[in-house]
């Protein structure tokens, strides 16, 4: 693969590129689903090609092709240079890149069981058994299960001399029970919505979830929700389960710290950010106990944002985002790092596939664990609502005002979990919300959740991100807002 990559770099240089980088990528995917006891989707795909990014006349160009011959790659490199020169017709200055060393390396994400080597019969049998467990519960009207596996090989080469091969194996797995009754649809997912849990792991992830134990539990909850009390509308204490808090981090910390958004590069689509450059090191983002990092290193865990190098050839790093409540850092790349006074990119350029341009992306943006035991947190809460498992999520285009709803809630009264609540929701303003955090559970409750469906960029790219979180408590939150006046 490096021969093709080198041919692309050579052509780009001859055609006038002052910098070029190349990603040859081979993506393999397998998708399995069941619905109501029958196999739904059963498909696999593979795609291989090359994406070539060049700087010429001070502007960017990118072209991609699946024609992996020397001629095809050379034509694609020439096209990328020609596009860069067209970009220069509407430039306001030359692109400047932060320096970076050249690396020659090979890395593979750790996994115990290659999901593509596990017999499909075994995988389907597990899903069908979980599906059957849910269908045994009276009142369940729809059961769904799914597994997704991806194996991604990428060969990165750049004109500064880097040659990096990475192999990532990703597994996702989950189950959903839905119940229609009267004039209401209620749903429960395990272990999370969005297809369950997703991680940079092998088939061992699917086996670790114990689907057969949890499937009937969520099925019963889906049915029970019909008879549950409506989540009240009030201002009060909120305890969020880990997976919901993971999405809260994603939307109200992860996206606003993307430096391309801050600089207006996403203004037409994904939006901008309230975290303007003057806020760095000044804004009290959160309460003193809140510490958030963006950590792509394997030491942080096997998340969807874990890698050895980003797709710009920069090694994985850990960046402080919020430290003791203070806003400390952005996600940057080689083009934008100097704008926040950094000598080096924070290593967050990622691409969905060979035919997409790398863009700034969340890695694993995680809330570091606190000190509370979950039972102690409940016992310490006189009056509140515990909400778990996301149902809907929305935030404005500058990432101030958000509203989330979850699949299920429980009243907390006098330090004890009380009755079940249906249609829970809450809303707020990002910095007010994070400043109201007064308790975070400890490492034993912390999970690195995977968000597999983060959309950004034009053409749209879908990327997986990781979010470590443990259950946490927030005070004076607006509760029940999604159903106000309905």
């Amino acid at each position: 693969m490096y021969d093709l990559a080198t041919a692309a770099l050579d052509t780009a240089k001859i055609r006038g590129a002052t910098y070029a980088d190349v990603r040859v990528m081979h993506l393999r995917q397998r998708d399995l689903t069941t619905k109501n006891g029958q196999v739904g989707t059963l498909a696999q795909s593979e795609s291989i090609g090359i994406g070539i990014r060049v700087l010429a006349n001070g502007a960017w160009g990118f072209a991609s092709t699946d024609r992996l011959t020397r001629e095809g790659v050379a034509a694609c490199a020439a096209q990328a240079v020609s596009i860069a020169k067209a970009s220069a017709l509407a430039k306001r200055g030359d692109v400047v890149m932060a320096p970076e060393d050249a690396y020659v390396d090979s890395w593979q994400s750790p996994f115990r069981k290659d999901p593509f080597e596990i017999p499909l019969e075994t995988q389907l049998a597990l899903l069908l058994a979980a599906d059957a467990e849910m269908r045994r519960v009276k009142g369940v009207t729809l059961t769904e299960t799914d597994m997704q596996f991806r194996k991604i090989d990428s060969w990165f080469a750049s004109s500064i001399g880097s040659r990096i091969h990475q192999r990532k194996v990703i597994t996702g797995c989950g189950v959903v029970a839905t119940s229609f009754q009267g004039d209401e649809i209620q749903k429960r997912s395990y272990p999370n919505s969005f297809g369950g849990q997703h991680a940079l792991q092998g088939y061992e992830l699917a086996e670790s979830l114990d689907l057969l134990k949890h499937a009937p539990v969520i099925a019963e909850e889906a049915v029970a929700l019909h008879a549950a009390a409506q989540c009240p509308q009030k201002t009060g204490t909120l305890i969020l389960g880990g997976s919901q808090l993971g999405l809260q981090i994603h939307e109200s910390v992860g996206h606003p710290i993307e430096l391309d958004r801050v600089l207006g590069q996403e203004a037409n689509f994904a939006g901008t950010s309230f975290l303007t450059l003057d806020q760095l090191n000044k804004l009290r983002y959160a309460s003193d106990i809140v510490n958030v990092v963006a950590d792509a290193r394997i030491e942080h865990g096997q998340g969807l944002g874990t890698f050895a190098y980003d797709d710009e050839g920069v090694p994985a790093q850990c960046t402080d985002i919020i430290k003791a409540g203070q806003f400390r850092g952005y996600l940057s790349n080689r083009e934008t790092a100097h704008l926040i006074g950094l000598q080096r990119s924070s290593g967050t350029m990622r691409t969905e596939s060979w035919n997409r341009l790398p863009i700034i992306r969340m890695t694993n943006v995680s809330l570091l664990p606190g000190t509370w035991a979950f039972d102690d947190l409940l016992a310490d809460t006189d009056d509140g609502i515990l909400m778990e498992t996301n149902r809907s999520w929305s935030i404005d285009d500058r990432r101030y005002q958000f509203q989330f709803s979850t699949e299920i809630g429980w009243e907390i009264k006098g330090g004890k979990r009380g009755r079940m609540l249906k249609n829970p929701s809450y809303s707020g303003i990002t910095t007010e919300f994070w400043n109201s955090c007064d308790a975070i559970c400890g490492r034993e409750h912390w999970t690195l959740w995977g968000t597999p469906n983060c959309g950004k960029g034009q053409p749209m790219q879908t990327m997986g991100t990781g979010h470590g979180a443990s259950p946490s408590r927030f005070r004076n939150i607006r509760l029940g807002t999604a159903f106000s006046e309905q």
């Binding site: 795909s45 024609r67 203004a267 809907s392 807002t481």
Partner: protein, 462 residues
């Protein structure tokens, strides 16, 4: 040289492949499958050549092009089916895809409901391939972007957006003699003009790039951004709203899957137990019509069945659903040509919704409004309640207070929590239906609407 090899050589070197070359690769797959004894085989070949110029801060910052080909093979043996897809078109890769599909298919239990592949079908021709769109160059796009950015600079504003063009073609065939092919082009220009602290937006999408006027869109966004700079904070509550077509599209677009027969059979459609009832106002009629002159899309579905025009809602009453072959059999109906590629668990959906619309202009809606809000665009819309179809989201890029028949001032953006079912009972006026384009739903033909009692629950900081 085999047809597949000819195709492989053509791709990337001479631009798009011809329909004959696409058919060649379909035939190659069917021949290879036959040679290893596969009972039933279906093949899709999809080719896309696209380019997108992206600008921000009054300059091009991303500029990309791609050429992709995918060959997707579904085999069906002994009441089992599965799909394998590759982007390699040499015979070895195609054979590997067939074998992968077979291997997947063999690994599952029998599905007694699986239907045999359909035979040859007849299709109505549609012509949506415009050469000048396919021929748009990076320089053409850059010049248009530069003019828009120059306007922003002249007006003290900052422009961001995209100008893209693409040609797509697809062919499908199966071992029972079915063959279908389609190609189209489309172009998109979208622009956001920022004038601190405000912004506004305009976007168009068409098969023919000549139907898009980037400079007119830039001028519209620039003018609205300027008018939006001094936004007032209003109290949340119920307001009369005038939704421009993009705002209507991004909301009603969330209804599309509810019209799928499979969604009703799975009891997850909002029309479950509501078919034949007066769900919407009598001024709401909706069809799914791929042949409408403002629509794009192939005249056949994922199994190759011809798409039918379907009356979904007649004067506020949901009348019909769309059906794949499988859901039609369950419901004892005829398939309408809306099925997704098999195997899948979702069945089908209407992808070419057309609302009936009215005759009022947005200006007439404003003139008739004593107090209300003019909404340019909505953002980050998600479903809160799937049966009452309550959606939440934000206004974005231009919210204006209308008082006594005139646009009075800009307003800070609101969050809404609004049932679409209720909303479509409260439509007071409609404009002519146009091809609308937003960011939450795929393009449809919808009108601007004046709607009473639209529920805004909270306000944000800008």
């Amino acid at each position: 040289m085999s047809a597949a090899r000819k195709f492989s050589a053509a791709v990337g070197s001479k631009g798009a492949a011809s329909e004959r070359e696409l058919r060649g690769i379909v035939d190659t797959v069917l021949r290879l499958a036959r040679s290893i004894g596969v009972a039933e085989t279906e093949v899709h070949v999809d080719e896309t050549i696209s380019a997108l110029t992206r600008f921000a801060n009054n300059a091009i910052h991303q500029n990309v092009a791609e050429h992709t080909v995918n060959v997707s093979v579904r085999t069906q043996v002994d009441q089992r089916t599965a799909r394998a897809t590759t982007n390699r078109t040499d015979e070895d890769s195609l054979r590997a895809a067939i074998e992968a599909s077979l291997s997947l298919a063999h690994s599952q239990p029998k599905n007694p409901h699986l239907l045999p592949l359909p035979g040859k079908q007849r299709y109505r021709r549609v012509n949506r391939f415009i050469k000048r769109t396919a021929a748009l160059s990076p320089e053409d796009r850059a010049q248009a972007v530069r003019r828009a950015c120059d306007l922003a600079i002249k007006n003290g504003q900052t422009a961001a957006g995209i100008f893209s063009s693409a040609q797509s073609q697809s062919a499908m065939g199966n071992s029972r003699g079915l063959f279908a092919a389609y190609r189209d082009t489309h172009a998109v220009f979208s622009i956001t003009m920022q004038e601190d602290p405000a912004a506004s937006w305009a976007k168009e999408n068409a098969a023919d790039v000549a139907d898009i006027d980037p400079q007119r869109l830039a001028e519209r966004a620039s003018d609205k951004a300027h008018r939006a700079t001094d936004a007032r904070e209003l109290a949340p509550g119920r307001y009369t709203v005038i939704l421009e077509p993009a705002a209507v599209l991004d909301l009603v677009g969330f209804l599309f899957y509810d019209f799928a027969a499979t969604a009703l059979q799975d009891k997850r459609s909002c029309f479950n137990q509501r078919m034949g009832k007066q769900v919407f106002g009598k001024n709401i009629s909706i069809v799914d019509d791929v042949y409408h002159p403002l629509q794009l899309g192939a005249p056949f579905d994922g199994e190759g069945m011809p798409r039918q025009r379907v009356l979904l809602v007649d004067r506020g009453v949901p009348k019909n659903l769309v059906y794949s072959r499988a859901s039609a059999k369950v419901a004892k109906k005829k398939p309408t040509g809306h099925g997704f590629m098999l195997p899948n668990e979702y069945g089908e959906a209407p992808m070419n919704l057309v609302f009936s619309g009215g005759k009022a202009s947005v200006e007439e809606m404003i003139a008739s409004t004593d107090r209300g809000l003019l909404v340019t665009r909505l953002w980050y819309i998600r479903e809160v309640d799937p049966y009452e179809k309550i959606m939440t989201g934000m206004t974005r890029d231009g919210l204006f207070l209308v008082e006594k028949g005139r646009v009075n001032s800009a307003a800070r953006n609101f969050r809404f929590n609004q049932s679409i079912l209720e909303m479509l009972r409260n439509v007071e006026m409609m404009g002519p239906a146009v091809r609308a384009t937003g960011e939450e739903a795929f393009e449809m033909v919808v009108p601007a609407m004046k709607i009473r009692d639209f529920h805004f629950s909270e306000v944000t900081k800008f």
